[in-house]
Amino acid sequence: MIERLVHWSRVKSPWVLHLNAGGGCNGCDIEILAALMPRFDLERFGVQLKGTPRHADVMLCTGAITLQNRDRVLRIYEQVPEPKFVVAAGACAMAGCVYRGSYHTLVGIDQLLPVNAYVPGCPFRPAALIDAVVKLLNSVK
């Protein structure tokens, strides 16, 4: 019983930490913010944007990781408490998009962190982000 209750609470209240890993345009970051606005309103699913890694459980990463940002992304990943998920949002976070082959960026978040969900699109539409968050939560065992 407790297990089902905890699972229900984890699915129903995912707190999100938005991490810009550097190597991308800010199209995806603005779309994440647009998803919290009255028209798309992520708060319907209990999603709240949190400032500190300590409070968050879903890490929404945008942008391909630049070499400068590499160990910061790792450190922030370690700061997030245990049942955590990583969502690679946008084409840059998935596979480097237009910056593949650049000398200063890695090609995507999965070169560094274990990624649970990918959100395609350059930039993705807020509706796609909501669909990804809901699918990620339902797939959580």
């Binding site: 199209g27 970051d29 400068q68």
Partner: protein, 401 residues
């Protein structure tokens, strides 16, 4: 007591990763230093390995908010290299998208300024109205952010009568909302109190530090590339440069809202006399060896592309200088005497588009502050100096309480 603190790349106030290293004395910032270099993606090196048409796709992804400005600056530069006269209707549509992007970028900025000042509801309202402009852009170009409208010689898609009518009615709603924001920003005491007197940048400082865009125009310098060096069809559109001379964040907000109203009139003018005829012209693949320096007035300021061609279909050199980089020295000058609470506001005031400036920053351990040993007299001197400064500032703020 001096603290060295870094406001790191992972910070809720900054939607992208930029970091400021400050030495603080209590709540007042003594010195600030911008550590840049995080979002450097080596775009200039990538551009040399791509053909001109592929570079349109690349320059569009320099920045997510002002993507059309980079492609327009690049395409009009290459059109000069090719000595190609673009179709007039294409130029009109290109300017129309430029002004629509300025509207959605300024509305975005108003919301972010509201969020930095802690005024969540203002943030929600402005971004809800921004969705109206995003819908218009989606009708025309099919995508909310990267429109891919530009091609050498004109534009990729045409605007038909139905779209023209839809744009004109939604403009009515936007005009009414912007008037509401103009008098709200001028009357809400907590909002004014929070923005007035913050981030002072005098006129001489702004000119000396080569600031650009609304940051410069809010210090009373009427420099606008659309007026000084008219490109596309700006020579034919009637509009005036909006300036304010209060030199603070409130002045920048007022300049941006005035520019919003100017943009609405421009969009109406553009739609009313959209010329008939083709909207794009055939363009050659190869370009003669030459060089061009093209300028563009992005929502954040002057955007500059320097393109040098060597006869092949790949550019020899592409230099991009985005407006945010030009405003960074001015930001450091503004941060020097502010409070901690003002940092996100000052930083948001130049509307930083970090990825635009290809520069970004990191954060060390937030508690690495090494503090100087101060004799008691030094401490008292610093306290008196700070209290005198605070009192004078209070008089000129229109803070009613």
């Amino acid at each position: 007591m001096e603290y060295k603190v870094s406001l790191g790349p992972q910070h809720p106030a900054l939607h992208e990763a930029v970091s400021i290293r400050m030495t603080l004395d209590g709540e007042v910032i003594r010195d600030a230093d911008l550590k840049l270099g995080y979002s450097h993606r080596g775009i200039e090196k990538l551009a040399e390995e791509r053909s001109y048409v592929q570079n349109i796709y690349l320059t569009e992804r320099i920045c997510g908010i002002c993507s059309h400005s980079h492609t327009t600056c690049f395409t009009q530069g290459v059109e000069q290299l090719m000595e190609l006269v673009p179709a007039r209707r294409g130029l009109y549509i290109r300017t129309l998208i430029a002004e629509l992007e300025r509207v959605h970028s300024h509305l975005l900025w108003l919301g972010v300024a509201g969020q930095e000042a802690g005024f969540e509801s203002f943030f929600m309202y402005t971004w809800r109205d921004r969705e109206v402009v995003m819908d218009i852009l989606e009708w025309i170009s099919g995508n909310r952010v990267h429109y891919a409208m530009n091609i050498f010689g004109g534009v990729r898609r045409d605007i038909d009568e139905l779209q023209k009518k839809k744009i004109l009615d939604s403009l009515g709603l936007l005009k009414q909302r912007t008037d509401y924001y103009l008098n709200l920003a001028a009357s809400e005491p907590t909002f004014i109190g929070r923005l007035a007197g913050v981030g002072m940048l005098s006129k001489e400082q702004a000119v000396a530090l080569c600031a650009v865009g609304p940051t410069l125009r809010a210090s009373g310098v009427p420099m606008d590339v659309r007026k000084d060096d008219p490109y596309a069809v700006y020579a034919e559109i009637p509009f005036e440069v909006c300036t304010a001379d209060s030199c603070d964040v409130l002045g920048r907000a007022v300049v941006r809202v005035k520019e919003l109203i100017q943009s609405y009139n421009m969009i109406e003018y553009l739609l009313k006399n959209l010329p008939e005829g083709p909207f794009k012209v055939k363009a050659p693949r190869k370009v003669k060896p030459n060089e061009v320096y093209s300028r563009y007035e992005a929502p954040r300021g002057e955007n500059v592309h320097y393109i040098k061609s060597n006869g092949s279909d790949k550019p020899e050199r592409l230099k991009v200088r985005a407006p945010t980089l030009a405003n960074y020295p001015a930001t450091i000058a503004m941060l020097k005497s502010g409070f901690i609470a003002d940092i996100p506001l000052i930083f948001a005031a130049i509307d930083p588009c970090i990825c635009c400036a290809e520069r970004l920053v990191q954060m060390d351990n937030a508690y690495s502050g090494e503090s100087r040993v101060l004799t008691f007299s030094q401490l008292r001197a610093m306290a008196n100096e700070r209290s005198t400064k605070v009192n004078t500032k209070k008089k000129d703020i229109a803070w009613p309480f």
